[in-house]
């Protein structure tokens, strides 16, 4: 048991617990209204939105998995950097329109928008269900980060229920403050969490190179074939197309995830989103530094040290960063770092569970089950669903093999991408027919899942072959291309049938947002 690290960890956890409950009083609103509980009253300014979106996008799983991938696979794992760069021009151009129309019509979710825009409850249901299903394994994976750092401090080494107890306590705390405070809780906690993350990453990127003799030593410790992408052979685009499509496809998928939409819609105006698109890349820089810690773990050779053998055996390369932290930083600082990763899981898990319960309540419960429910009933339902969602994630991570959560999260990225034609294209034109979009969505879902299946759900990279030429690429993007093609071809056909058109409750002016400097 590492008492130094554990003491600091528990103190910081206690602090954010208090903060989570106090948050209910912050910018006080009627928490019996769904937009107050689930979107913090749409009153978040530039700074809090920056922390909230940052806490949302750069999750605990990201902080464990990205360096782990770089540690194991080398340069290919670095795609996380171009991905989190090119996402911001997209955020800047597209999401202010989403904010404007959502503000005008009190939309809480992307599926709300699809319902209003296309007047087709089946298409909205498809978007809602995709969002919920893609989010669930993501929440489970947030627990992985927590599980790894708790294990790294030597808690519950005996296994059994004692090993899971700290995880269950952390999640009970999370569930309680999300229930009472709604989105306000993760918004406030995100500020603490990100401060801790910035401190940790900056410390690692200064201390470790000093210990091993500079950055040139870090890079020269890496096997040459892992330092760069492999140059493709004849008749294939090899790792080049894999890297580019992973970056592009992940960027598209990112802001379709319900939790991103929740954070964006809680902004107080469209300008906050445009400004954040320019400032959020600061997190991408941090993520890039963190990816490099994968190489630092190689350079320090932590995977070969006997004291970390158990950790690597249990958590594989996901243990690379915790081991590096224990090896290079003093115990109390390791406590800060582990608290950063642990709290770093709770913030996105809270936002994700709120987003999933908003989707369920608005687009399934109110639409299909209880059409006459009052705003109070709606909010109470959302709060309860957020508990169910988190409990499901907890059961998932404790009782099922970790591999399932990772594979489902991989599929989730492919699935959520299939809502792009309905949601994003819908912001610009009503030309695509809702039923054509529904067929395209189903085809994309099927083909994308099949593509991942051909690799035994081990990889999202599909080797697309055209006339003897291979272009390995992100299955989400290939499936999306098919989805688009189907929607485009079928739309003019369906559009001839007036009854398929649906009513559009939005007008062009709804998408307009005023701009200030």
């Amino acid at each position: 048991m590492n008492w130094g690290a554990l003491t600091v960890f528990v103190l910081l956890f206690g602090f954010i617990t208090v903060l989570g409950f106090v948050a209910a009083r912050w910018r006080r609103g009627d928490l019996n209204q769904l937009h107050e509980w689930g979107l913090a009253g749409r009153r978040l300014g530039t700074v809090i939105t920056w922390f909230l979106l940052g806490g949302d996008v750069y999750t605990a799983y990201t902080f464990i998995a990205v360096p782990a991938l770089v540690f194991g696979a080398g340069a290919l794992g670095f795609f996380a950097l171009p991905y989190t760069i090119i996402v911001y021009p997209l955020v800047f151009l597209i999401l202010p329109r989403m904010w404007a129309v959502a503000h005008k019509h009190n939309y809480i979710t992307a599926a709300d928008f699809v319902q209003g825009r296309y007047g087709n409850e089946w298409l909205a249901l498809a978007v809602a269900v995709t969002g919920i299903v893609a989010t669930m394994p993501y929440i489970a994976l947030q627990l992985l980060g927590l599980q790894v750092v708790i294990g790294a401090m030597g808690v519950g080494a005996g296994g059994g229920l004692m090993a899971d107890l700290p995880l269950i306590i952390a999640f009970a705390i999370l569930a309680a403050f999300t229930y009472t405070s709604g989105l306000r809780a993760p918004a406030m906690i995100a500020v603490v969490k990100d401060t801790l993350i910035y401190i940790t990453v900056i410390a690692l990127t200064i201390v470790v190179p000093l210990q091993v003799g500079g950055y040139s030593q870090v890079f020269s410790a890496v096997a040459p074939e892992k330092l760069l992408l492999a140059t493709p052979g004849a008749n294939t685009l090899g790792q080049y197309s894999a890297y580019a499509t992973l970056a592009l496809g992940s960027a598209f998928a990112l802001f379709l995830y319900p939790h991103t939409m929740t954070a964006v819609l809680s902004a107080t105006n469209a300008h906050v989103i445009r400004r954040n698109a320019a400032y959020l890349p600061a997190y991408s820089f941090l993520l890039g530094l963190l990816a490099l810690t994968g190489f630092m773990a190689v350079a320090t050779g932590v995977d070969k040290l006997p004291e970390f053998a158990d950790g690597f055996a249990q958590y594989k390369s996901n243990f690379a960063v915790p081991a590096l932290i224990l090896h290079s930083l003093p115990d109390w600082f390791a406590g800060v770092a582990f608290a950063a990763i642990g709290i770093g899981g709770l913030v996105p898990a809270a936002i994700m569970s709120i987003a999933a319960s908003n989707l369920f309540t608005r687009n399934i419960y109110v639409r299909f089950i209880n059409r006459d429910c009052t705003p109070e009933q709606e909010t109470r339902n959302a709060k309860i669903v957020s508990l169910v969602v988190k409990f499901g994630a907890l059961v998932f991570i404790i009782f099922l093999p970790l591999q399932y959560a990772i594979q489902l999260q991989l599929l989730g990225g492919i699935w959520i991408s299939q809502t792009i034609p309905a949601v994003i294209v819908g912001l610009y034109t009503r030309w695509l027919n809702p039923w054509a979009l529904l067929v395209g969505w189903a085809m994309g879902l099927g083909v994308g899942t099949w593509m991942a299946g051909t690799t035994g759900f081990q990889s999202a990279i599909f080797p697309l072959q055209i006339d003897g030429f291979t272009a390995p690429g992100y299955a989400a993007l290939y499936a999306l291309a098919l989805n688009f093609a189907v929607s485009l071809v079928l739309s003019p056909i369906f559009n001839r049938l007036r009854s398929t058109l649906g009513t559009d409750e939005t007008v062009p002016h709804d998408y307009h947002f005023g701009l200030r400097r």
Binding site: S241, A244, L248, R516
Partner: protein, 78 residues
């Protein structure tokens, strides 16, 4: 595309294509040399684009902004 009533120019948005070309054309930067402080080109080039993209977005934001319109409802700056 919905008709737009705002008065700011829209052409600067095209500048945002640049990061896509710079980062998705992978062979253009998949090399060790030139290194900076021992960091291979592949890595520092992509870090550099974090900053450049941020600056580009700031520039486009300024160039497309409508100096008159307010979007904060009551209490918005004139």
């Amino acid at each position: 595309m919905a008709p737009d009533t705002r008065s700011g120019p829209r052409w600067p948005n095209l500048l945002l294509v640049i990061p896509f070309v710079a980062l998705l054309w992978v062979p253009s930067y998949n090399s060790i040399e030139p290194t900076i402080w021992g960091i291979p080109f592949f890595y520092w080039y992509q870090f550099l684009w974090v900053i450049l993209t941020s600056l580009l977005i700031l520039a486009v934001q300024r160039l497309t902004a409508d100096p008159v319109a307010g979007d904060e409802g009551a209490g918005g700056r004139p």
